[in-house]
């Protein structure tokens, strides 16, 4: 009897030691993100790890995973243990919440500013000297202009492009839906290649030398110019565009299980800190609090009229259903005899 109690005590001791050693061991955090944030998070993760070490004394290792936003969301739904997701559009995180219940439905209210610590918008990338004289959306449908944009069915970025064009046409035509549809249909008729993702379209435009104008995220366009040299391309900022809000969220189901809730929350909150905001601006994202960013970085973001998806399209769920689901407006435009 006595021996067995002793044995049990010993066992408890060993177990406790093992547990505490787990608690003391380095924590890891997996950030599942989309393609163009690679450089941003490489820089941010190093800053955050240093900050965490200084404030709590704990060492944290952050792993990052990048890919198409929808594909990344599906991986999380299918069981990839992401502590946090930082994706291209709210719709993808909505679907994680919907299909896996690893997130509360009101996830977008958990962090400030619609849970989007940085924003971007859609701009035009044209060839040096702007030979086709493209200044605004209206110039895109001039005869002979070839437009490069990815397929909205497979690319989140392409959905922003499409909606930005739609929003422009709505405003131009006094909210006439039929005219907006005509405009977008005309625009799509001038697209020779619909790549499956945004990086594919950038390649088609830049490497294959196809098309006169590339519809792109501002951060991608700035990155392309920076990497390929300003002597080949220039950015044209249209009069109106859409405010792209790439949102972030803690995947609570996973974080709870792995005991990383506090860390994950602190990690995302740090994106809103002066350091996070400064890094976002440096990596071509528009910071929510520009006062923290360097003036030189901010100078790259010209002012333009930005509409939001909530005000014009009634949110992602509705926009997705109307425009991009099977049989939606995009399909109707391409249907035989459709326009």
């Amino acid at each position: 009897m006595k021996r067995s109690t002793l044995f049990r005590a010993l066992l408890t001791g060993v177990a406790a030691a093992a547990l505490s050693s787990v608690a003391w061991a380095d924590q890891t955090l997996l950030n599942v993100s989309y393609d163009p944030t690679r450089e941003l998070y490489q820089a941010f993760n190093a800053e955050f790890a240093a900050h965490w070490k200084k404030t709590t004394g704990e060492t944290v290792t952050i792993k990052q995973s990048h890919g198409g936003s929808g594909k990344q969301a599906r991986s999380v739904i299918d069981g990839l243990e992401a502590d946090v997701v930082t994706l291209a559009l709210a719709y993808d995180i909505d679907e994680i919440a919907e299909l896996s219940n690893k997130l509360p439905k009101d996830w977008q209210k958990k962090f400030a500013a619609n849970s989007a610590p940085y924003t971007s918008t859609i701009v035009f990338l044209v060839r040096k000297g702007n030979p086709k004289g493209i200044k605004d959306w209206g110039d895109l449908i001039k005869p002979g202009v070839e437009i490069i944009t990815p397929n909205p069915k497979t690319s989140g970025g392409a959905r922003w492009n499409y909606l930005a064009a739609w929003a422009y046409a709505l405003k131009k035509n006094g909210n006439d839906e039929a005219k907006a549809r005509d405009f977008v249909a005309k625009l799509l008729k001038q697209v020779p290649v619909l790549d499956s993702g945004a990086r594919g379209s950038t390649n088609t435009f830049v490497q294959r030398n196809i098309g006169d104008v590339l519809l792109a995220w501002e951060n991608e366009a700035l990155l392309s110019i920076n990497e390929l040299g300003p002597d080949k391309f220039e950015i044209v900022v249209p009069s109106l565009s859409i405010l792209a809000e790439p949102p972030v969220a803690v995947v609570e189901g996973v974080a709870k299980k792995r005991g990383t809730e506090k860390l994950a929350k602190a990690y995302l909150e740090y994106l809103y800190s002066p350091t996070g905001q400064k890094l976002a601006a440096k990596n071509y994202y528009r910071p929510r609090n520009p006062e923290h960013a360097d003036a030189a970085d901010l100078a790259r973001f010209p002012k333009l009229d930005l509409i939001t998806i909530d005000s014009v399209f009634g949110g992602w769920q509705k926009a997705q259903k109307t425009h991009f689901s099977d049989g939606g407006v995009f399909d109707q435009i391409y249907a035989p005899g459709g326009k």
């Binding site: 594909k71 397929n151 697209v191 290649v193 594919g200 099977d326 399909d331 391409y334």
Partner: protein, 276 residues
């Protein structure tokens, strides 16, 4: 089947193992596809798989796969003939090159083919003035499928050709057959079963191909979207059931065509009295 004494015993365990292995590796994933799609009612299923965009993608995928497999059958046969019947410097190198499409990651193949055939590419720049566009058109899909399917035909025809003695041809010639007659009456019947197998393999591979085609196809709805892209498109909308429904149709058509080709091949083998 008569029980004959065999050098290695163990028909029972071997068959059992084979069936278990096949079930685990092939049947289980396929069954899950059918199970997932079965949550649709028949009319829902039909409206998913017969939507105009999806139907257009079947035409492209199966049509181009068939054309690519046919081209491969002709040129693969020529290649195999060359490799078996002639000696030339660098033969081993050529032999090894044939397998390259097996080994190369398909995305790499797709990107390099696109770079070659785009308007500013090495080949594309000469085709463009002639009004021939390959990249981002249905023709590009076929080029990619020809590339990935080539080894299948060569590697199935090659061993049979090696077995075929040159004396057969000499005998035919000495009996007064012309060159064409020799080819058609003596060589082709022997090669036909292997050629059909190669064709079927190249076809099946082409139908399911995604990685290399996606870069060169252009992906314009109704024109240059392949069926695997339709599946990805549905997944991208979190429409798992719709995706499996389209996958099911692909499976059924592929299985039916493979079944027909196998039947043809058995018929050809029987006709020439060669049992493979």
């Amino acid at each position: 089947m008569a029980r004959t004494a065999r050098v290695l015993p163990g028909f029972g365990p071997a068959l059992g193992l084979t069936l278990t292995w096949l079930s685990l590796i092939v049947l289980l994933p396929l069954a899950s596809v059918f199970l997932k799609a079965s949550s649709l009612s028949l009319s829902e299923f039909w409206s998913v798989v017969s939507a105009p965009r999806v139907a257009a993608s079947y035409r492209l995928s199966f049509g181009m796969s068939f054309a690519a497999a046919a081209i491969n059958a002709v040129f693969g046969l020529m290649l195999a003939w060359c490799l078996v019947r002639y000696r030339f410097p660098g033969k081993r190198l050529v032999d090894a090159l044939v397998d390259l499409p097996f080994a190369l990651p398909t995305a790499v193949a797709g990107i390099s083919l696109t770079a070659l055939y785009a308007k500013n590419g090495w080949i594309g720049q000469y085709l463009d003035p002639l009004g021939i566009q390959v990249a981002f058109k249905p023709l590009g899909v076929m080029v990619a499928l020809v590339f990935i399917g080539l080894p299948f035909v060569v590697r199935t025809v090659q061993p049979v050709l090696e077995e075929l003695d040159i004396e057969h041809e000499e005998a035919a010639a000495s009996l007064g057959a012309g060159r064409w007659q020799t080819f058609r009456r003596v060589i082709l019947p022997v090669l036909l079963p292997a050629l059909l197998t190669g064709f079927a393999l190249a076809f099946a591979r082409a139908v399911g191909e995604y990685g290399s085609v996606i870069f060169i196809a252009g992906n314009i709805p109704m024109v240059s979207e392949i069926t695997p892209l339709m599946i990805i498109t549905k997944l991208e909308q979190y429409d798992y059931v719709g995706a499996t429904a389209v996958a099911e149709v692909m499976l059924l058509i592929s299985f039916a065509s493979l079944f027909i080709v196998n039947g043809l091949q058995a018929w050809a083998a029987r006709r020439t009295g060669r049992d493979r």
